[in-house]
Symmetry: C2
Subunit: 237 residues, 2 copies
DNA sequence: TAGATTGTTAATCGATTAACAATC
DNA sequence: TAGATTGTTAATCGATTAACAATC
């Protein structure tokens, strides 16, 4: 979660809360849909509904970006799309490499939402020499040994890891050494990285376990009269 | 996020914080690794390091589960594995259906972490009749029209959506109508569900955008002298 | 007993939300 | 002007963290 040094000039008080940053893409998606339907303006209430949050939260979030709305009217859709895109850094091009072109890596390479938002797949890398040259999503798979060259040549700063867990740390180390400073990790491992490198993790198994927890509670509430709270099968009463 | 009614008997004060629930799978994974190496006990400090959190947080988290440690000694690995598994509901079997067997759906079907934690793929479903019968991860793809029967027959309460965004809401409605009460959504859409149904969302595009935001800030700190803060290309100076 | 480490307290921090004055 | 809706305040809630007494 290190965000680098924070010696911001008081341009206009920086520091957008993480929770807000995480919701900006949600707003952007809803706004893009409105834009495609040529809707000119939208109220916080409507937009919040489309994004699945409450409107007070949305207005608070937007207040960190500036005053981009008009009281009594709402927000100009196009203008807000631009402002949020700019704030998120999507007005520039972000070359990414995907490492590990198994089922998941291929799925990611084919994912449409990539290109549409300033992200460009600079290369697909895999350790399996048998894969080299094979086309996935129109791009040739290249060997992992080309990692350093590609990251340097294409100025890649974002890496996506879709390797097995066992390979993830080594790949991370190589990416970081080559100059990558943001990593999206799909491998089920905790990665260690130096300060200044951001890691985000996507973990199917964790999400399912969280669902199971809540699911179990629902079952406990209804079926049986609660499968016995805290006391495990170890103790007498 | 609805967790159903909460008329808990004061068994021993329920209500594990969401943030804690979300970390239990992390601890469990670290503990499982220790268990495989036959490590008998572990301190909060060691386990926290392995899970990538700080030890105060870990001890606080565990305190919600009960007093499963021994002062001066640490935690018994096997016992803790069992307690956390039980708390998460992983001591029972959870049949899940995966809907949408494209690249991503296939990747999910092949994902090993599934079976290892009480999750069992009850069926793979797709709307494409051409896919029907094809084996993916050893299971035949079945037509989406079998959804209702399968959910009922296999007592499926968890559904995984890996369809295109356009199909996700309809699939959700059918899953919910058929009795599914937990949904893991990989489609980039906000789903609406009735109370009592939990939805968790995994969104590649959102994760990348969050990384881009931080990446942009790093670049702004070092390269240029900050790409001009708030004032867009619209205004003069 | 001395050393180690848990479980809990209390302080702090960050996020959410309702309410409403400002203002289009 | 009257109605609508933003932007902001302030209260509340939940999560994090350091510190340490309890206790093995």
């Amino acid at each position: 979660m290190a965000t680098g040094r924070s010696h911001r000039p008081a341009t206009r008080s920086r520091g957008i809360p993480e929770a807000t940053v995480a919701r900006l893409p949600l707003y952007l998606r809803a706004l893009t849909a409105l834009s495609e339907r040529s809707v000119p303006t939208v109220s916080s209430e409507e937009l919040a509904a489309a994004a699945g949050v409450n409107s007070a939260k949305l207005r608070k979030d937007f207040s960190y970006l500036g005053s981009y709305g008009t009281r009594g009217v709402g927000y100009d859709v196009e203008y807000l799309v631009y402002q949020i895109s700019r704030e998120l850094g999507l007005t520039q091009d972000w070359p990414v490499v995907i490492v590990g072109i198994g089922n998941l890596g291929a799925a990611l390479a084919n994912y449409g939402g990539f290109a549409s938002r300033g992200f460009r797949v600079a290369a697909l890398l895999d350790a399996d020499t048998a894969l080299a040259g094979k086309l996935v999503a129109g791009l040739p798979v290249r060997h992992i040994d080309e990692l350093e060259t590609i990251v340097a040549d294409s100025q890649v700063s974002i890496g996506v890891i879709a390797t097995p867990a066992g390979a993830a740390q080594e790949v991370t180390d190589r990416l970081v050494a080559a100059g990558v400073t943001s990593i999206l990790n799909f491998a089920p491992t905790v990665l260690s990285v130096p300060d200044g490198v951001d890691v985000r993790k996507v973990d199917l198994s964790i999400e399912l376990q969280i669902l199971a927890f809540h699911e179990q509670r629902k079952a406990g509430d209804e079926d049986r009269q609660e499968p016995d709270g805290d006391v495990p099968a170890v103790m007498p009463a």
